[in-house]
């Protein structure tokens, strides 16, 4: 659970602008344009949501937007696939409980 700073093939991690995201109320920095899941893995977040009935933790599984295991509530919208949704400045990301709740302002 860390960023890969240098890599034998890909080279040093390119410098990009950092953006601020709010994860469960905590303010964190993420690399502009990276997927929410990547940003959260880099911060060491262990799970992204808990299931409806048995409250089991879930994280990423397929990483390409197919399995929906990594969904979270993002800017008030539940069930957002974090592995294919890029972070944005000021984005509010919440660990989702069950189906989640719509909180989007009208």
């Amino acid at each position: 659970m860390q960023r890969i700073i240098d890599h034998p093939v890909l080279g040093p991690l390119p410098e990009v602008k950092m953006v601020r995201i709010i994860v469960d109320g905590e303010s964190l920095m993420a690399r502009e344009g990276e997927m929410i899941a990547a940003a959260l893995i880099a911060t060491g977040k262990k799970y992204f949501r808990k299931t409806v009935k048995t409250h089991e933790p879930r994280g990423i599984y397929c990483g390409i937007g197919r399995c929906t295991d990594c969904v979270m509530t993002v800017n008030g919208i539940p069930n957002v696939r974090t592995c294919v949704t890029p972070v944005e400045e000021g984005m509010v990301i919440e660990t989702q409980m069950g189906y989640g709740v719509w909180k989007q302002e009208q």
Binding site: M1, P8, M35, I41, A42, C62
Partner: protein, 363 residues
Amino acid sequence: MEEREVVVIGAGPAGLSAALEAARAGAHVLLVDENSKPGGQLFKQIHKFFGSHEHRAGVRGIDIGTQLLEEAERLDIEVWLDAEACGIFNTTDVWIVRNKEKSVTVRAKRIILATGAVENSVNFPGWSLPGVMGAGAAQTMINLHRVLPGQKILMVGSGNVGIIVSYQLLQAGADVKAVVEAAPRLGGYGVHTAKVRRAGVPFYTSHTVLEARGTDHVESATIVQLDDKWKPIPGTEKELDVDTICIAAGLTPLVELAFAAGCEPLYSPLLGGMVPWHDRSMATSIPTIYLAGDISGVEEASTAMEEGRMAGLSAAYSLGYVDRETYAVGFDAAEKRMLALRSGMFGQKRRDAKAAIVGHSRG
């Protein structure tokens, strides 16, 4: 309703190659992809590809991806990103949702489906814990997003995907604790297993993962030896200190669009399960719909690119963009390159399975 000559769905190696070939022949091509960046899974393939010079062997997948995108730009191919193809109606109308906001229907003379495949999972107690993920997902995280999903890895499955991702996890700085393979023999290329083994990673054949444990995330795993009937042998359990379990148990073609459109299905276990029937030219049972890449049977990026070229060329020919002779020459060359990749002890089975699909008489 918008109209285009050729709509290619999926901008991975197969779709890009198909779009390039059709555009080179003169067709107006629209390439759509649900992701915000084109390239599909090519940009996580950081290793040098096999094959020969005309397959771009020795070139890393990421660089092949860049070459294909540059070519697409030169040919002025229209690309819609963040564009999900949700259905195909009346054999020609593609329903696309753009930017999760706007529904568009595009009437196409030819549609090429290059939707790819999705990783299979393996079920065992604890398999849903965070930290259990597809090997391809781990590869996406390390090579595309530059984050390590864990430090101590158990790889389940020894096909080329499992072995290549194990190697790339080592390159990214992780520690691969073991590769387990349920079959009595390792599946991937020996040159791949050899480089992972000489890096000190142990292989366990006739072994599988029995259980993953952890509260909010994987904290350990138990592997077990299997007998010749693939049943766990009591007393052979081994506990491994791992925080990540990668599953490399094959892939399944993403066939939903094809079958919803009415393409005739066929079962090909060796190529990943249900696939749309197709002929040698890559046309499905619906003459306006073609296939390329993993949707037509799971293989690898290099075969997907050749199949893309075959499909793109065939679609352009069927629209009258190339004459019969030019088509025959171009198609045969692509097919010959393809067959070279499907030769030898690893390729022959795929070659036979493909021949069975093409040779399957319908009705």
